[in-house]
C-alpha cells in the first residue's frame, strides 16, 4: 500500500518537475543555511573556548598603579607599587590556589647563527600552574632558581623554531642580551590568545633574574603584575575583596584615597566572550531557521495549488474507493518526500559550503552530527506540518463535488 503510494507520489512529483524543483529549493536553501550557520557559529564558539582555556581559569591580574612624571602620566603598571612580598602575602589569603608575580620586557636572543627578539617573562614556577601551561620537554625552574636568580629559561615553541629549527633546545645555552642562559625546558604549544597574539612567542625566566640581570629596576623587588588564581569560580568575588583589603593595608592607603593598583577579573571577560559567541551562534541558527520556515510555507503554497489542480483526480480516486485517509496520506507523502529530498540536498550543500568557507577564509567550522540530525528532523517536521493542511483539505472534499470540478 505504502510502496504503491510512494510510486504515485513520485509520479505526481515527476509530472511537474520544475515546480517540484522550485518547491524543493526552498527546503534546500533553508536546511543548507541552518547547517552552514551552525557550523560557522559553533566554529567561532569553539575557537573562543580554546582561547579561554589557553589563558588559564579563574584568573585575576593585579596591576600596579600609574605614575605622573613632570605632567606626563604613565600608564597602569608604571608605578613601582607592587612587590614580590605583596605576591607572597596574597598567596596566604584563603581560596587562593596560586600566585605568579611577573615582570616582562623584550630582549634579543642568540643561538649559533640565529637571533630573535621576543617577550621575556620573569616569573615564578607557579606561573605555569596559573596559565595552565605544560612543558613539552625538560624541567621547569624551581624556587631555588628564584632565590639565586640563576640564568635559566623556558622557551616557547615559536622561539625554539626560530633559534633552533629542528634541533633539540633542552640543555643548550642561548644568549639573552649577551648573557648565557641554559634552556631548561620547552613549553607546550598554546596557540593564539583571544586578541590574536602568538602566545608561543615568549620566553620565561625566573622573576629575580629578569629584575636584576635582564631589565634592571630602580626599585628592587617590584613587579608590574601579579597573576592570581582562585580555587574556584565561586570563590572569585571573595578573593577579589580580600585581595583589595590586603593590598590597601599593605600599601597604607588612607580611607578615601584611590587604590595604587588595580585588580582585573580575566575570567569574567572570558565568560562574556564565550557567551557572546554562543549568542551569535544561536542567532545565526535562528536567522537560518527563518529561511527553513519560508521553505515550509513554500511547500504548503505549492501543495495547496496542487490539491486544487488535482481536485478532479481526487474525485476519481474517491469514486473508485479511496478513503479520506488514503488521500491524506498521498498528499502528505508528497510533501514529506519533497522535504526530505530537499533536506538531503541541503545537508550536502551546507556541509560543502562550510568546508568551502573554511578553505577560503580559514574560519573555523564545526559540523556536528547533532546539527545534521536536527536539520533533518526539522525538515521532516516542516514537511508534515505544512503538508498537513493541504492534505486535510484534499481528504475532506466531497466525492461528488470533487468529481464535478472542472
Amino acid at each position: 500500500m505504502i510502496s504503491a503510494m510512494l510510486g504515485e507520489a513520485w509520479l505526481a512529483m515527476g509530472a511537474n518537475r520544475l515546480r517540484t524543483f522550485l518547491t524543493m529549493l526552498g527546503m534546500v536553501i533553508g536546511v543548507g543555511a541552518v547547517i552552514l550557520m551552525l557550523a560557522v557559529g559553533q566554529g567561532a564558539q569553539q575557537q573562543v573556548q580554546a582561547s579561554i582555556a589557553s589563558m588559564g581559569s579563574n584568573l585575576f591580574i593585579v596591576l600596579s598603579g600609574s605614575t605622573t612624571s613632570g605632567g606626563l602620566r604613565m600608564g597602569g603598571g608604571a608605578a613601582p607599587t607592587l612587590t614580590l612580598a605583596d605576591a607572597q602575602a596574597i598567596e596566604e589569603l584563603p581560596s587562593v590556589s596560586a600566585v605568579a608575580p611577573s615582570s616582562s620586557g623584550t630582549a634579543q636572543m642568540v643561538y649559533g647563527p640565529n637571533n630573535w627578539s621576543t617577550q621575556v617573562i620573569g616569573s615564578t614556577p607557579s606561573y605555569l600552574t596559573v596559565r595552565d601551561w605544560r612543558l613539552a620537554e625538560g624541567f621547569p625552574f624551581t624556587d631555588s632558581d628564584i632565590r639565586s636568580a640563576t640564568r635559566v629559561a623556558l622557551l616557547g615553541q615559536t622561539v625554539v623554531q626560530n633559534l633552533f629549527g629542528d634541533e633539540s633546545a633542552v640543555g643548550k645555552t642561548i644568549r639573552i642580551k649577551n648573557s648565557p642562559y641554559v634552556v631548561l625546558g620547552v613549553l607546550a604549544q598554546k596557540g593564539q590568545s583571544l586578541d590574536g597574539r602568538d602566545q608561543d612567542d615568549s620566553v620565561i625566566v625566573p622573576v629575580t633574574t629578569a629584575q636584576r640581570k635582564l631589565f634592571g629596576s630602580q626599585f628592587a623587588g617590584t613587579v608590574r603584575m601579579i597573576m592570581v588564581q582562585a580555587e574556584s569560580a565561586e570563590s572569585m568575588p571573595a578573593v577579589e575583596k580580600s585581595m583589595n583589603e590586603l593590598l590597601r593595608q599593605r600599601h597604607r592607603i588612607r580611607e578615601n584615597a584611590d587604590n595604587d593598583f588595580s585588580v582585573r577579573n580575566l575570567t569574567a571577560a572570558a565568560n562574556t566572550a564565550a557567551e557572546t559567541a554562543q549568542v551569535m551562534s544561536l542567532m545565526l541558527g535562528a536567522i537560518a531557521s527563518v529561511s527553513l520556515l519560508v521553505g515550509g510555507i513554500g511547500i504548503m503554497n505549492i501543495m495547496l495549488v496542487s490539491v486544487t489542480e488535482r481536485t478532479r483526480e481526487i474525485g476519481i480516486r474517491m469514486a473508485i474507493g479511496a478513503r479520506g485517509n488514503d488521500i491524506l496520506l498521498q498528499f502528505l507523502l508528497e510533501a514529506i518526500i519533497i522535504s526530505i529530498i530537499g533536506c538531503l540536498i541541503g545537508v550536502a550543500l551546507g556541509v560543502g559550503g562550510a568546508l568551502l568557507v573554511n578553505k577560503i577564509s580559514g574560519m573555523a567550522v564545526v559540523i556536528t552530527v547533532s546539527s545534521i540530525v536536527t536539520a533533518f528532523a526539522v525538515a521532516a517536521a516542516v514537511g508534515i506540518f505544512f503538508g498537513w493542511y493541504p492534505a486535510r483539505k484534499a481528504a475532506g472534499m466531497k466525492p461528488i463535488d470533487a468529481l464535478r470540478y472542472q
Binding site: 500500500m1 510502496s3 478532479r312 483526480e313 476519481i316 474507493g321
Partner: protein, 244 residues
C-alpha cells in the same frame, strides 16, 4: 420484481433536495425502485429530471435527504464516509462519460488503482489488471498513457478499471456520450456481454434510445419522479424519446 431481500438496489420513498439561497429545491421525489441481480437497466429522462442526482445517490457519491437505500443488503444512509468508500470500492464499478482516467498513470496502473485502495499486494494487482486488459481487448496497450489511445479504447480501460474489483453492480453515466456511433456500439456490445455472460448488474444513464435499447428494463424520470418502469420492449415511444 421489487421488494425481494436479495435485490442489489432497493430504494424506497427516496427524496432529495438541494439547499439554495431561495430555500430547498426538490430534485428527486418519492422514488421507489429495486434492481435484481443480473438486470440491465437504462435510465432516461430530460435534463433536470434528476437522473444525474439519482445516479450519484446510487453510486454512494451523494446521499439522499430522506427515504431508504439498501445497496447489496446494506443500509447506505447509516454508513460513514469510510464505509461508503468501501462500498464504492468493492460493490460498485463506475464508468463515466468523460472516462476519468488518471492522465499520468499507465493504462495498467489506472486499472490497478481500485486494488490499491483494497490493499491488494503489488504482483497480484498487476496480474488482475492484465487479466482485465485482456478481457476488454487491450492487452497490447498496458504501458501506454490514456492520451495515447482513442476514446473508445479509453472507455474500455475505464470499464476494465470498473471490473477489476469484481463488483456486483456497474453504474455507467452516459458511457457513450463522447463516442461516435460505431465505437458506441462496440462499448454497448461489451456491456451486453458482461451482463449476459458474467451476470453483472448494470445500471446505465443515457439520452439515446438506441443505447437504451441494449438494456432489458427502462426507468424513465421526469421532473424528479419515475414516469415509466418496465421492459424496454413495452415502453411507449415517448418514454424512449431521445433527450439532450
Amino acid at each position: 420484481m421489487s421488494g425481494t431481500a436479495d435485490a442489489v438496489i432497493r430504494i424506497e420513498q427516496l427524496h432529495k433536495e438541494y439547499e439554495t439561497d431561495a430555500g430547498p429545491v426538490p430534485v428527486l421525489k418519492d422514488i421507489s425502485v429495486s434492481v435484481m441481480p443480473g438486470e440491465f437497466v437504462a435510465i432516461m429522462g430530460p435534463s433536470g429530471s434528476g437522473k444525474s442526482t439519482f445516479m450519484n445517490i446510487l453510486g454512494c457519491l451523494d446521499v439522499a435527504t430522506s427515504g431508504s437505500y439498501r445497496l447489496n443488503g446494506r443500509d447506505v444512509g447509516a454508513l460513514n464516509r469510510d464505509e461508503l468508500a468501501h462500498l464504492r470500492n468493492q460493490v460498485i464499478g463506475f464508468v463515466f462519460q468523460g472516462f476519468n482516467l488518471l492522465p499520468r498513470a499507465s493504462i495498467e496502473d489506472n486499472i490497478a488503482l481500485p486494488l490499491i485502495y483494497r490493499g491488494t499486494p503489488g504482483d497480484e494487482r498487476l496480474r488482475r489488471a492484465n487479466e482485465m486488459l485482456a478481457k476488454v481487448g487491450l492487452a497490447t496497450h498496458r504501458a501506454s498513457r490514456p492520451n495515447q489511445i482513442s476514446g473508445g479504447q479509453q472507455q474500455r480501460v475505464a470499464i476494465a478499471r470498473a471490473l477489476v474489483n469484481q463488483p456486483k453492480l456497474i453504474l455507467a453515466d452516459e458511457p457513450t456520450g463522447n463516442l461516435d456511433t460505431h465505437t458506441s456500439q462496440e462499448i454497448m456490445a461489451l456491456f451486453t456481454e458482461l451482463n449476459e455472460r458474467d451476470g453483472i448488474t448494470i445500471v446505465l444513464v443515457t439520452h439515446e434510445s438506441d443505447i437504451a435499447a441494449y438494456a432489458q428494463r427502462l426507468v424513465r424520470l421526469a421532473d424528479g419522479r419515475i414516469v415509466y418502469d418496465g421492459p424496454v420492449a413495452h415502453a411507449e415511444p415517448q418514454h424512449l424519446e431521445a433527450t439532450t
